[in-house]
Every structure is written in C-alpha cells, then in structure tokens.
C-alpha cells in the first residue's frame, strides 16, 4: 500500500531523511517511532504528499506523491500532531464539511457522517459546537474528520498525546476497527507502551534513517513473542533454545525472549523439555512489551 524508495528530504541546512526505503502492507497498523527530531513527522508529511521528496519516490496505493498529490489526498486521512478544528461549527457540520471536501456526494455524506460519528463515539454530540468539546472528544472528532471519507491510508501523528487512559484504550480499539475495516494505518508516537495494543509492524527512524533498514514485524498472531524467566541463572539458555529450533530475539542468564507458535500443546512440550533439561522455569508468558523490547534491542544494536 505504501512504498518508499531511497527517499531524501532536505531542509536548507540539514538532511532530514537520508535514503529511506520501506514498504507498508495493506490492512496493517505500523508504528513509526524514534527520538525527537529523528524525522518521523517529516516522513509522515512526505507520505501525505505534503512535502515533495528531494530525491527518491513515495508511492501510495500505486500513485507517486510527486505526480499525483491530489489523487493521493483523496485516498488519505491525516491527523497532524498539532491540529485545529472549526470551533464555531457543530460536530455534524465539521464532519459534513470533511466528507464533502473529500469528494463525497451530499447524498452519501450524511450516512458517512453518521458512520464516522459512531466510530469515534460522538453520535450524542453531533449538534455540539467543536469548540465546546473536551480535549479527548476533540481528538476523537479530529480522527473522525480524517476517516469520514473511508480513506485507504490513515496517517496519525501522535494521536494519543494528552489523552487519559480510558481515551487511549478507546483509541486503540478504534484503530483496530479501522484496520479490520480495510484501512492501512501508520501511527507515530513517543509512547511505546500504547503502540503495543494495536501495532503489528514498527519502523524506527533515527538520524533520518530507518534503523535496521526496514520495518520490523513486532506482532505475529500465529507466532507471538514469549518471555521466559528463570529462577536460577543459566548461561546455556540460548544454546538450548536454538537447538530446539526456536527463533531467539534476545537472551540473558535469567530470561529469554523468542517467537513461538501459539499452539498450546507445543508450548506445553517446550516447558516440559525446559524442566527436563534442568531449567528452573519461573514464568513463561506472551510478551506484552514487544515494541518496547524490539525498539531498545534495535537501538542498542545501532549504538554498539
């Protein structure tokens, strides 16, 4: 759905993106992470055809951003990190304007508005002025206007910034619903923990490069990540796991992180083998910090 090839973007005094290449598969949620000033927002704006590449190419749904920016805009929903709303208009009118301005015919716009309002749980506030909404509700409305036209690609820059825990949970649910509805989402965030709930792939941007050279798969429903913890230190844990044909991500004397099948029988057998081999298994569970673990593993690799 998104293809980036050797993308270079320059500001007058610095190169913000330097040879970025990546592919984002359709109907996925990809996390875009990295330190401040790494180039995340610039990359998102290049994907949104708001900034032309200095060299290289960005293709969205088969369209080049340099050649067909407006056709890409029709297919795109974008929530910038700092966004505004038309405070004097009601929620219904904000969404209606968004639907019309994305080319929806008036006959279809009304249904699209109702659907978007339902998705972002604003049905009860359709006649409320946008300026009277709380921060969390404004965020929902902003997302609503980005998705009202059912875009193929949704780009969200720090969508959870400033939201309370319940609103963040609602956001996670919404993003998963959008993915299930067939949209491809790229979400930039500083808060790795919140990305765990919905992202399957991660792109780490640092110094204008994609760390590791490509997106990293952080969640596989067939083969999730498991964290094994040992009560007593064992230096041969890695060799044991590798000998068992397991894809090891990271090991230490007291723990191991690896991908493994979700099959319960296979997991039970692995635990039995570990115990039989004398490993003092304290816990064996699916990792809930896949993105965080992968991010820091990648950053450590880069630093070393």
């Amino acid at each position: 759905m998104i293809e980036v090839r050797d993308l270079v973007y320059e500001y007058p005094n610095k190169r913000a993106l330097d040879g970025v290449s990546l592919t984002v598969a359709p109907k996925t949620i990809t996390a875009l992470v990295g330190p401040n000033g790494a180039g995340k927002t610039t990359l998102l704006r290049c994907l949104a055809a708001l900034e032309p590449p200095y060299s290289g190419s960005v293709t969205i749904d088969g369209l080049d951003t340099r050649e067909a920016p407006r056709r890409i805009h029709e297919r795109l929903g974008y929530l910038p990190d700092f966004y505004g709303l038309y405070d004097e208009l009601t929620v219904r009118r904000v969404l209606t304007y968004a639907a019309w301005s994305h080319g929806l015919a008036p006959a279809l716009a009304s249904a699209a508005v109702e659907k978007a309002a339902a998705r972002v749980a604003l049905v009860g506030r359709l006649e409320t002025k946008a300026g009277e909404l709380s921060r969390g509700l404004r965020q929902r409305l902003a997302i609503g206007q980005a998705i009202v036209h059912e875009p193929k690609v949704v780009l969200l820059d720090e969508p959870a910034a400033g939201l309370d825990p319940q609103a963040r949970r609602d956001l996670s649910t919404l993003l998963l619903q959008l993915r299930d509805a067939g949209m491809t989402l790229v979400v930039s965030s500083h808060i790795l923990a919140e990305l765990e709930d919905y992202c399957s792939t991660m792109i780490i941007v640092d110094d204008g490069h994609v760390v590791g050279g490509k997106p990293i798969k952080v969640r596989d429903d067939e083969r999730p990540r498991y964290l094994l913890e040992l009560a007593a230190a064992r230096s041969d844990l890695k060799q044991f796991l590798l000998a068992a044909g397991i894809d090891v991500i990271e090991t230490g004397d007291h723990h191991g992180l690896f991908t493994f099948t979700r099959n319960p029988s296979a997991r039970a057998k692995l635990i039995r083998d570990l115990v039989k081999a004398g490993f003092d298994v304290a816990s064996f569970a699916e990792s809930t910090r896949a993105i965080e673990d992968t991010y820091f593993a990648q950053v450590r690799d880069k630093a070393s």
Partner: protein
C-alpha cells in the same frame, strides 16, 4: 455547492448578522437622505461600499488562508480533494460573502442613482467598475497572503494588516486609473482626466479601454490566486501561464510608447526601440518583484542544479519560478533591443541596455546570495538594503566626492569609453553569480553531512 464556499456561508451568514447589516445600512442611507444634499444616499453608499468591500473585504480575504494556518486547519484543507479552483473561489468569495452582501445593498442605491441621473449605460459601467475594484482588492490581498504562506511566514496581526494594505493599494491604483475616465466625475484621483487613450498607435475610448484593462488585471490577479493555491496544494504549475502573463504585460505596456518622452535615457526616437525598451523594462520590474516575493528555496535551487546535471530539462521547466522566466524574457527582449540599436548606429544606447542587463543579473544574484547566508529570514531585507546602498547611498557619496566616472560601478550609466559601463556591470554580475553558485554548492554538501537530529 462548493464545500469551502458552503462552510464559509455557515460561518459568515447567520440570520442575526444579515439583519444587523441590513438595518445598519438602511439607517445610514436614511440618515444621509435627511442630512441635506451634500451627503446623498448614493455618495454615502459609495463610501460604505469602499469600506465594506475594499477595506473590510481585503482583511477577510487575507485571513481566509492565514486564519487556517493560524488555527492549524490548513493542512487538513490541503489534504482534501478540493481542486485549486474550488479552493480559490470558495475562499475568495466565501470569506467575503458577508462583505459582498453589504456591498450588494450599497450597489442597489448607487445604481439606482446612477441610472436615474446618467442612464442605464452609466449604471452598467458603474456596476462593472465597483465589482472589479472589489475583486482586484480582495484577490490582491488573498494573493499576497498565499505568497506569504508559500514563504512560510509567521502570520502575525501586523502581517495580516500588510496583506490587507496590499489589497487596498491595488484598489487605490485601480481607483486612480479609473478616475481618468469616470463619467461620474472625480472624487479624488491624481491622473490627468482624458477621453482617449493612445495605444499601439490607435486612439481608444478611455472608459472602454480602462474598464477593459481593469477587468483584465482583475482576471490576472484571480489567476495568480489560483496558481498560488495550486502550489500550496502541491500541484505543479508549469511555465505556460506565467509566460502568457509576460507576453500580455509586454504587449500591453509596449503599446504606451506614445506616452514616453522621446529624449529618454536611451536617446532613441523610433517606436520599435521604445516598445522593446518598455517591454524589457516591464520584464525587469517583474523580475525584481518576483525575486523579492517568491520563496528563494535553496533546496529547490540545489535540486534544479542536480536535475540540470542529469539533463532533465523538462522537470526543470515545470519548476521554474516567476523571476527566472521574467529574467529570461528581459534578457531576450534586451538582446533584441541591443541588436536593433546597433543596427540604428546607436552604440551608446546599446551599451546602456547591455549594462542594464548586467546589473539586473547582479541584483538577482544578490537576492539569492543573501538568502544563502546565515539568518535566512533577514535575507530579503538585507538584499533590499544592499540594493538601496548600491543605487542610492554609494552613488550619492561618489557624486559628492566628484567621482562621476565611478558611478558606472553602481548602475547603468553613459560611459567613456562606451563599453566601460556594460563591462563593469557584467564583471559584477559574474562575480555575484559565482559566489551564489558556490554558496549553493557548499550548502548542498553541508546539508548532506548534517543528519536530521543535529
């Protein structure tokens, strides 16, 4: 209906505002009718029209884009599916719809008076004039705000006022020009009244000529808004419309040779040379205006350099800025003029034109060069100050010291020997161009070596 226009109607045309506007205007005309003959309702309507449509309307037009940028809704609009044309007219007429509503009420009063006193034709002419002056003012304000948006300026209240002033100045210019032939008589105006306008050797009725001219310039301003909007929406413009504008301006201005004194600086008497000189000067002025206004994007220039090295001439042509095309047009016409003057045995005049072209290139180079120095926001200001020093301060000092021959260093000047002035001008131009290209090249190396997080 255009979504942007509809959104503006939602915001601007509330029943309360409509009733208030109508009531205030009716009261104003009624008060004028009661106050005596000096303040006829029609005179009052004219003044109120200028206030509502020109003064207030330019502010709303300038804010139609700047307000979006300030409120952080501009990126959302830029990512919509609206075309540049829809966005332009939706903003221009939508943001000013309340002003046009008030203006329409005033026009009813103005036209009723004009038709009753001067006939239907005078009424129709007045209608066209008032609509055109409103369009010129508002579209000039919108255009200036769009240019500022392209330059990524900060959009403070003062800057918005500046865009409004540009619209008002455009309206004042149109007002002044029209007063030359206004059948209703002059309220102000500084140009000499006339019934006929000589143009390309023909005499034209002043009213028809000026009204057509104003309508054409309103059209070009609207087209300018559309093209600036296209750039904001990341749609490439291509060179053809600007080239058409240059051709129009060249032909239009060249037709006024009869208005020039025949003993001007280039000392030639034939119409061909004068017309070439007028067209060339117009292109040079447009070069200065555009190089001042357009964003001098170092990254774009570096990109053009790299595309030039790859012989991708088509891609460069589609990215040419207005000043580049204007400068080329000035050079083409200037060279034609030089050839013509040499054939006419007017070598001093040809040398004068040659030095003019050299200084034009030098000045453009100064604008670009100063943009590459540290403190980019000050680049244009620094360039204007530098040119002021070169054209005014330094020559005044040289003149005061009795160094008349030194004036050839600063601006086109008759010199002895004849070739001295163009030689000096071109030496300066080449030096500035070399420095500028060097700065751009070193900037490219620096940018490539400076990663994002630095």
């Amino acid at each position: 209906m255009n979504p942007e226009f509809r959104r503006n109607i939602w915001l601007e045309l509330s029943p309360r505002r409509l009733i208030t506007m109508t009531a205030v205007l009716v009261l104003a005309f009624f008060a004028a009718a009661l106050s005596g003959t000096e303040w006829l309702p029609s005179t009052t309507a004219v003044l109120i029209y200028y206030f509502i449509v020109v003064f207030w309307g330019t502010r709303n037009a300038a804010l139609s884009v700047v307000g979006e940028i300030r409120e952080r809704t501009w990126d959302f609009q830029r990512l919509s599916a609206l075309g540049a044309g829809e966005m332009t007219w939706g903003k221009l007429f939508g943001s000013t719809i309340f002003n046009w509503y008030g203006g329409a009420i005033c026009l009813v009063v103005i036209l009723a008076y004009r038709i009753a006193h001067d006939g239907a034709v005078a009424g129709l002419i007045s209608l066209v004039y008032f609509v055109v002056i409103g369009l010129i003012a508002q579209s000039a304000a919108l255009l200036s705000s769009l240019i500022a948006a392209m330059r990524r300026q900060r959009h403070t209240q003062l800057e918005v006022f500046a865009y409004q002033v540009i619209g008002i100045v455009a309206a004042l210019f149109a007002y002044d020009v029209w007063k030359m032939a206004d059948p209703a008589g002059s309220i102000g105006g500084r140009l000499r009244p006339t019934d006929y306008i000589p143009w390309w050797g023909q005499s034209f009725d002043a009213r028809a000529f000026l009204l057509t001219s104003l309508a054409l310039f309103a059209g070009w301003t609207l087209l300018g808004c559309y093209r600036a909007m296209r750039l904001e929406l990341k749609m490439p413009n291509g060179p053809f419309v600007w080239l058409a504008f240059l051709a129009f301006m060249g032909v239009y201005v060249a037709g006024f040779d009869a208005w020039l004194p025949k003993n001007g600086a280039i000392s030639v008497r034939d119409a061909v040379a004068l017309r070439l000189a007028l067209a060339g000067t117009t292109f040079a002025i447009l070069t200065y205006i555009m190089v001042l206004l357009e964003p001098k994007d170092r990254v774009l220039y570096r990109w053009m350099g790299s595309e030039l090295a790859r012989a991708h001439f088509g891609r460069i042509a589609w990215s040419l800025q207005g000043w580049m095309m204007s400068c080329k047009a000035a050079f083409i016409v200037g060279i034609c003029l030089i050839v013509w003057l040499v054939n006419e045995n007017a070598a001093p005049a040809a040398a004068f034109v040659g030095s003019g072209l050299g200084f034009l290139l030098r000045d453009v180079g100064i604008f670009i060069l100063l943009q590459t120095l540290p403190g980019p926001r000050r680049g244009d200001f620094a360039a204007v100050v530098t040119l002021f020093a070169l054209y005014v301060l330094a020559p005044a000092i040289a003149d005061g010291l009795g160094l008349k021959q030194a004036l050839v260093v600063f601006y086109p000047q008759a010199s002895t020997p004849v070739w001295l002035s163009p030689a000096v001008a071109w030496a300066e131009a080449i030096a500035v161009a070399g420095l500028t290209i060097g700065r751009l090249a070193s900037g490219a190396k620096q940018a490539a070596a400076t990663p994002a997080a630095a």
